[in-house]
Symmetry: C2
Subunit: 200 residues, 2 copies
Amino acid sequence: MNYQKSHTLILNNIARFIDLTELEKQKYLSLLTEITVKKKAFLMQAGEITKYEYFITKGCLKVYTLDEDGAPHISMFAIEDYWTGDMASFMSKDPTNYFIKATEDSELLGISRANYELLFQEIPKFERFYRMLYQRSLISYIRRSNHGISLSAEQRYIEFKKKYPKIVNRITQKDLAGYIGITPEFMSKIITKVNRKQNS
Amino acid sequence: MNYQKSHTLILNNIARFIDLTELEKQKYLSLLTEITVKKKAFLMQAGEITKYEYFITKGCLKVYTLDEDGAPHISMFAIEDYWTGDMASFMSKDPTNYFIKATEDSELLGISRANYELLFQEIPKFERFYRMLYQRSLISYIRRSNHGISLSAEQRYIEFKKKYPKIVNRITQKDLAGYIGITPEFMSKIITKVNRKQNS
DNA sequence: ATAAACTCTTAAACTAGTTCATTTTTTTTC
DNA sequence: GAAAAAAAATGAACTAGTTTAAGAGTTTAT
């Protein structure tokens, strides 16, 4: 069967961990909602109750909170083939603390809370898929939370470039600073310094 | 049916997310290995290949890495009713970077890689259990990784006391410093300062 | 019960990262 | 394609957290 590009992408993502029959694939796709967000528009804002978990099929988004001083702290960047959302709010139905804003025109597939529950009833194999997806995410967040407290800002920047070479060129230095956990001014100094080292 | 204390503890932990029949409970328990670790002994050391994922039934352990300078960075403290291990090494079969050391005489239940796989074949419901367990862990690690980069050491200490009141009195100040990501000297200053504030 | 080995406290000098202010460069908008 | 807005660079003064050192208080092992 021939699927549209975004559907092929999400089915391939799922095929990393579980095999679906044609029927299951179609059932699964029927549970998803297509969403588009223009650059600079919000997919989610603090105070809202999170309705969906998202898979990005095109574009780039940043997920962040604002602290009491209004300074942004970026939790992740999400590009094609990434999953994002606010799982805490999605599960608890409490209002989210996060903003998700498109940094490029973006296209997503969303699964609602009701369909997420339904999915496990209809195709129990998805328990395994999410078990493995969460397991992988967990491994990378454990690493990140350790790096956040044990590495210098410069080392975190070098790690980021190594781990996300595709993302580093699509985001502003300012947003990268918000992810690394430093000011844009200090980010600028680090980049100058690291590039000087590499070119010498 | 009447179970020994450690078995009741782990079965209750699992019952938060899935219901098991008596037969399934017994099957599950048969896949576990009992382990005891004396205070100051290692459950795991960097370079080893991780054989088990662990559930603590008694005691307290610290999970940490050593950086190039030999300074410890504590990833988590695990007490009764907590799960621990190095999932990255457990899954990939690569050598671990972690040390796990008992800070009190401890008792654990371990599941081996082979039995973990077997578990999903024999009792597929466990996919759901681990999906939900990892989902919850993920939520708390996402929060921690954000706090690591966006909160001051003093705020992280206050958060830790609030979130883990049972743990804070069982560990040394030095180990807490290793978790918060600061030196023991600065930890001492923060504690003096925070207690002074509270008593005034 | 005592020595040895840690852990905690305090303080002075230091460094990584912040803040604030200004200028230059790049991107967005009409 | 010019004007406006946002991002990036640079520098000086500042603050949170480190380092080193030394002494006091606790825990551990015999």
